[in-house]
Every structure is written in C-alpha cells, then in structure tokens.
Symmetry: C2
Subunit: 101 residues, 2 copies
DNA sequence: TTATAATTGTCTAATTATGACAAGTCTAAA
DNA sequence: TTTAGACTTGTCATAATTAGACAATTATAA
C-alpha cells in the first residue's frame, strides 16, 4: 500500500539494465533486502536514498521526494482527517518557509 | 519545533481549569509525562488522542488532526522538498479517496 | 516556610526496526 | 529434467528507538 519509491526504483533499475545484485552491493546490502524495498515490504533508510539517486542516475532529490511522500502516506492514509492534517502541515510549512525561495 | 498538539492541549486544559494531575490520571500516566507532551518533548500515543478529546471536551478528531499534522511536520519539515512530498501525498490520497465524501 | 503545580533528568523495560541468511520459486537454456 | 541465475519469502537474533516510572528540582503563591 503506497509504494511510490519502491515502484520507481524497480522501474529505473530495469530501464538501466541492472540486476538487484548490482545495486545491492553498491548499497552494502543484499538482494533480499533490495527486493523487499522494491516491493515496499521494508523501507529504504533515508541515507540510502541519495545512493539510489546516484546509481540510478536521476536528479538529486527526485527519489527523496517519493520516499518522503511514502512516509507521509503511511502516517495518514487511513485516517478520516488525512487531508485536513496534511493541509494543516502544509500551511505550517508555508508559514515557516516564507523567507525561502 | 512544531507542537500544535501539545500547545492546544495546554490551552484547553487551562480553559477547563484542570491540573495536569487530573488529565494524567484519566490517561493512566503521570504529570511528568503530560508535561512533556504539552511541551512537545514526548509525543502522545495515538490511542491517547481520543481520550484527550473526551476529557477536554472538543469534538472528535479535532485533536487527532493536530496530532497527525505534527507527525507529518516532524517527518518533512527540514527537507528541501517538503512541499513537493506533501503535495504528492495529497494527490495520492485524493486519488485513493475519490469514492468517499 | 510550607504546599501544590509543573518541569527536568535519568534509568530500565518494552517495542519496533534492521541485518543476515537459509530456503524457496520462477524462468530459460541446454 | 536438470542446471543456473534472478528474484522472493520466511525467520530470527540483535540493534536501535521509544515508553514508563520515579526521584529530584524549580516555580508560585499562600
């Protein structure tokens, strides 16, 4: 349920003609773990996200965005007030971020 | 940083002329814990949120919304792509929720 | 001061997450 | 029909995180 990150990883891996083994070793882990990450059974560690971005040749923060969205979804997706909560958080960030780009 | 829930709890507690002790005992915890929750040093357990709502006489889900927003903020608030990630999650929920009210 | 409310700090226990690995399935080539 | 490679599944010990309990401290006001 809600696995944008893993789905994308797998897509990109196949597009780049890589085996799980190759990515796994670059991340210092094994293929069972990568398999689980792709299927959303386990989550990638945050520190691994930039490594994925590098190996899979996507631009910085692209996968981070998906990874974060997954975490947010895991948190709220079964809640009756999910959208309200997200909206509140969003307003808060916009408020706290007035000084940025 | 980002403690909408705790802040609101405290406000409501004072408005209702309650001491931490009274709320704490109703939640089966102690005042140090409640103090920490109010100040955002610890987070309330999700199961406690409806108890707060009852004791503090606010309508169902009102505090849950704040509680969830805090969790979301904790997750994304320091990220460069915070807003993008939230936006993605939001779209996803809207997609998955077409069939609801 | 004394009493009450609230906060701070710390320590153990409970819970949850992670890593590692054995064993399994699946597919295709021989 | 067996061999090999890619991937998946299941389990389990351990690491890491979080919670609960409580003593001690601070703050405030009578």
């Amino acid at each position: 349920m809600a696995n944008q990150f893993g789905t994308k990883i797998k897509q990109l891996r196949e597009a780049n003609h890589l085996f799980q083994r190759e990515i796994a070793s670059a991340l210092n882990t094994d293929t069972p773990m990568l398999s689980k990450i792709e299927r959303g059974e386990r989550k990638a560690k945050k520190e691994q996200v930039p490594l994925f971005e590098k190996i899979l040749k996507v631009k910085k923060h692209e996968l981070l965005t998906l990874w974060l969205a997954d975490q947010v979804l895991e948190l709220v997706s079964n809640e009756p007030v999910a959208l309200k909560a997200i909206d509140l958080a969003q307003r808060e960030i916009k408020g706290l971020t007035l000084n940025r780009s």
